[in-house]
């Protein structure tokens, strides 16, 4: 058994949840602290691998990525783009005011 539970505190979980825009209920946050601690302890094993002089691999490039020409193409109509939105107003996505003008 490689797994030991390294500490990840509830405060740390709350900090990460805020970065991730994720609302966690009380019991959820506690469970998350336990699970993340266990998983992070498991991935610690990567520290034993010698990666000095090994370049990072961000993606596989067997394809040889070539972007398509930057030419205008037909796009979605406003109606299509808005069809699935939970709230729409005056041809746009409706959200609460996020600039406090008070």
């Amino acid at each position: 058994m490689r797994v030991t539970t390294t500490g990840i505190s509830i405060e740390e979980v709350r900090r990460i949840a805020k970065l991730a825009n994720l609302d966690l209920e009380g019991a959820e946050a506690e469970r998350m602290a336990r699970d993340l601690g266990q998983i992070l302890a498991y991935v610690e094993q990567l520290r034993e691998v010698d990666v000095s002089d090994v370049p990072p691999m961000a993606h596989v490039d067997d394809a040889g990525i070539v972007p398509r020409p930057d030419e205008p193409e037909e796009s979605l109509s406003q109606e299509q783009a808005l069809r699935e939105a939970p709230s729409v107003e005056e041809g746009g996505f409706r959200v609460p005011a996020y600039v406090d003008e008070g």
């Binding site: 058994m1 490689r2 797994v3 979980v13 990460i16 949840a17 970065l19 991730a20 825009n21 994720l22 609302d23 966690l24 209920e25 959820e28 469970r31 998350m32 699970d35 993340l36 266990q38 998983i39 992070l40 498991y42 991935v43 094993q45 990567l46 520290r47 691998v49 990666v51 090994v54 370049p55 990072p56 691999m57 961000a58 993606h59 596989v60 067997d62 394809a63 040889g64 990525i65 070539v66 972007p67 398509r68 979605l76 299509q80 783009a81 069809r83 699935e84 939105a85 939970p86 709230s87 996505f93 959200v95 609460p96 005011a97 996020y98």
Partner: protein
């Protein structure tokens, strides 16, 4: 009548398409048969939604075109299931998540209903290509939410079940696609594979599953999980059927800059060739104890029945003329750790788009009643209410490994180890043409068995993750099943073959030859 109809779905994909093309069977008959069988197999939970009317309409138009003397495509009238993260124009697409469903209109509505799924304004490229080949897309297949899981139990709606033993998982995340094909509700389906999500369920259900080379198939219209790993591929009842579906969907797409410009061969033509002289590598690291070690006793390496069956399959390859030799893939034991950093980092970024503004669910922050409703609370509340436990766990882990102070230690290091996976395979493929290994360390496990132990669930993917990290193609083809015991019926086992980038033809050559020695079997319905 039912028996005749069922026969249509039990035949190989190519033969079925041939009968429709020649007019011996109509697309309408085949579609009716599939819809009937899907209804009878409803308890398997293989489909989230079924498009009965749309399918029948399409079948009629295919028959009409034949009647006018027009030639039909390679998948003429073949009913195909499409995994639900794949966009289908105007047809509900949920990716197995509540967050891609519209909010309840009244409290009496069921809380999570795939019929209220997001309706994409466009088809994924793979869908366009299947339609161009005259396939009939009958429904959207169940899956783990956003393809995150190995048992289908992370579906926001209901788990899919393994038709060989409904108390067990069909695997995941393409569990619905695999269950549907195993029970021959459809002869073929599309899945997606990020870390094994096609090959593992194919192994656990006795179907043929192919993860193509990264970039072989366009990802345009695939709801993204981990963009450097995601790849769409077929699950089918026979090897040639899988080859035919892959031939139809593969190839460059201007809408996906990571899609390969390499020419697409007729993969079916690679089937049936001799294996004489082909060098097959067997990685010692994929056998024996130790690999699955690490959590709660659920990962104790390979099960003896699995090892026996896969070794017997490799012996069969030797009898077919292959030269079998050992190879070493020394980085294998770091696959789970590497993958769960790389994939979660990418998912935390990709899933940022689900915020309750442009599509799907919108909710306010929970536990903040009375608080002013602002944009931040809509984001956090929608995501808190709309994502399931595993998706939240991965978003949190990914956010953590990308956050300031941890990036180098976790994410960058994992990317460096990923390079070693690539190098491992490059070295092995200098010595051998293909690699043969198990696709899963275990047979299908029981539903509920691992849901409380995320790490044990992750270890289910240990044999499929390396090929995903390296971007190389792999296939799982059924080998001899594990015999029935007092505790359970006979259960399928998968032989995994891996090949160098863009060498899928080798997979089909080996798998089709092996299939001759171990013909496809249909699960009971």
């Amino acid at each position: 009548m039912t028996a005749v109809r069922d026969e249509l779905l039990e035949m190989a994909v190519g033969r079925l398409a041939g009968l429709v093309r020649s007019g011996e069977v109509s697309a309408v008959e085949v579609t009716e048969a599939a819809l009937d069988r899907i209804a009878r197999g409803r308890d398997l939970g293989a489909f989230l939604t079924v498009q009965a009317e749309r399918s029948m309409e399409r079948a009629r138009s295919i028959d009409a075109r034949r009647a006018r003397g027009e030639p039909l495509g390679a998948l003429a009238g073949v009913p195909i299931g499409v995994k639900d993260p794949i966009c289908t124009k105007d047809v509900p697409t949920t990716a197995g998540s509540k967050i891609l469903t519209r909010s309840r209109r009244d409290p009496g509505d069921p809380e999570a209903d795939p019929e209220r799924g997001w309706r994409p304004p466009y088809d994924a490229t793979v869908v366009t290509r299947l339609l161009a080949a005259d396939a009939v897309l009958v429904g959207k297949c169940n899956m783990d939410e956003f393809a995150m899981g190995s048992s289908n139990e992370n579906s926001a709606f209901f788990p899919a079940k393994n038709p060989w033993d409904p108390k067990r998982t069909p695997g995941g995340s393409s569990g619905g696609s695999a269950a549907a094909v195993a029970a021959r509700l459809v002869p073929a389906a599309l899945g997606s594979d990020t870390g094994g999500s096609i090959r593992q369920p194919a192994a656990l259900t006795g179907t043929v599953g192919v993860k193509p080379t990264y970039g072989r198939v366009s990802r345009y219209g695939l709801v993204a999980f981990a963009s450097s790993l995601d790849q769409i591929g077929p699950i089918a009842s026979d090897v040639r059927g899988a080859a035919r579906v892959l031939t139809a969907i593969a190839g460059h797409d201007p809408h996906d800059s990571t899609s390969s410009r390499a020419a697409v061969p007729d993969f079916e033509a690679a089937c049936g060739k001799s294996l004489r002289g082909l060098k097959v590598g067997v990685p010692a690291e994929y056998f024996g104890e130790g690999l699955g070690e690490g959590s709660g006793g659920a990962g104790k390496g390979i099960e003896p029945e699995v090892e026996a069956s896969v070794r017997a399959a490799i012996d069969a390859l030797a009898k077919l003329g292959c030269e079998v030799r050992p190879v070493h893939l020394t980085t294998t034991k770091y696959a789970v750790a590497t993958y769960y950093i790389v994939a979660t980092a990418e998912c935390s970024s990709n899933l940022a788009r689900f915020d309750g503004v442009r599509f799907g669910l919108r909710a306010s922050a929970s536990g903040r009643s009375g608080a002013k409703e602002d944009l931040a609370s809509i984001y956090a509340g929608t995501r808190g209410a709309g994502f399931g436990a595993e998706v939240k766990r991965r978003i949190m882990l990914g956010t953590y490994v990308l956050s300031a102070g941890y990036y180098d230690a976790y994410y960058l290091r994992a990317q460096r180890v990923r390079t070693l996976f690539r190098r491992d395979f490059e070295a092995a493929f200098r010595e051998v043409d293909v690699i043969a290994a198990p696709a899963s360390p275990t047979v299908a496990f029981k539903l509920g068995e691992r849901v409380d132990d995320p790490l044990a669930m992750y270890l289910a993917d240990v044999y499929t993750l390396p090929a995903s990290l390296a971007g190389i193609p792999g296939i799982s083809v059924p080998c001899a099943p594990a015999p029935a015991t007092t505790d359970r019926p006979e259960l399928p086992i998968g032989l995994q073959i891996m090949a160098p980038p863009l060498q899928e033809e080798r997979l089909f050559t080996v798998a089709s030859a092996f299939e001759e020695t171990c013909p496809p079997r249909r699960a009971p319905l």
